[in-house]
């Protein structure tokens, strides 16, 4: 189970569905159940949609994660899009450049246990999220 990483190209809106279905499947294999599966799928959906909306093309990578005895799922969204000029602003609830409700990034952060964002203008954005089994 340790090496089963899943990668999904994100180029169009139907890839968002593919990514969240794959995320739910992997999370279930890792041992997540019930509302955690929905929460993980929803966070994946938000991040994958951000790629489609702002970067057009990118990738979601999903993998089991293990850290100091804890097991969970690692979700990475990568793109080589325009990047986020002001991350603090993008992480504020309700902030949007007009294509969304402005809940995608802060919402995904609330859904997951760990959330990191690295972005460089003109180079792209990488979002790394983890959820741990309770």
């Amino acid at each position: 189970m340790e090496h089963e990483e899943v990668r999904i190209r994100i180029d169009r809106d139907s890839d968002i569905v593919t990514a969240r279905v794959a995320g739910r499947e992997l999370a279930s294999r890792i041992g997540f159940a019930g509302s955690d599966l929905t929460i993980i799928a929803t966070a994946i959906s938000e991040i994958a949609r951000n790629i489609v909306l702002y970067a057009k093309h990118g990738e979601m990578a999903l993998a089991p994660s293990r850290q100091s005895g804890r097991r969970g799922i690692l979700v990475i969204g990568r793109d080589c899009g325009p990047g986020i000029p002001d991350i603090e602003q993008a992480m504020r609830d309700g902030f949007s450049t007009g294509k969304s409700l402005g809940l995608g990034l802060p919402g995904a952060k609330r859904l997951m246990d760990e959330f990191e964002i690295a972005s460089e203008v003109g180079r792209g954005t990488t979002i790394t999220m983890r959820k741990w089994l309770r």
């Binding site: 139907s14 569905v17 409700l101 809940l103």
Partner: protein, 124 residues
């Protein structure tokens, strides 16, 4: 994949499937706005019980559907939001403000039947 719209009396019934894409949702909104006029419907029930995810886009589009159909004279009821989905929408900070909701299709039909008896031509 277009979402089928069924007509029952003065109500349009929509059952969305799990693999609903953003474009499907937007097409559904346009389709409903047109059919509400064509069938002179006073209500729309959208059954989302098959949906395992309601993210910010789906929520925004459902709100848009409700607002669009309201402007066309029909009330929209969203039914069948699953418990896990409701929980994760709450965490996300998503609300369906201004959109009627009901537990299931039957409750949704009741909600639409109760107060509205206008357009007296539907014989109900």
């Amino acid at each position: 994949m277009p979402v089928p719209i069924l007509k029952q009396g003065g109500v349009l019934i929509v059952s969305v499937q799990a693999a609903l894409t953003d474009n499907d949702l937007v097409a559904l909104r346009d389709d409903l706005a047109e059919k509400v006029g064509r069938f002179r419907s006073h209500g729309v029930v959208i059954d989302v019980s098959a949906l395992d995810v309601m993210d910010s886009f789906a929520t925004r589009t459902l709100r848009g559907i409700a607002e669009t159909t309201a402007l066309r004279g029909a009330k929209t009821v969203v039914v069948g939001i699953q418990p896990d989905v409701a929980f994760s929408m709450t965490l996300l900070g998503l609300t369906l403000d201004g959109v009627a909701t009901a537990l299931d299709l039957d409750e949704g039909m009741d909600l639409l039947a109760a107060p509205i008896r206008r357009r007296g031509d539907d014989g109900a």
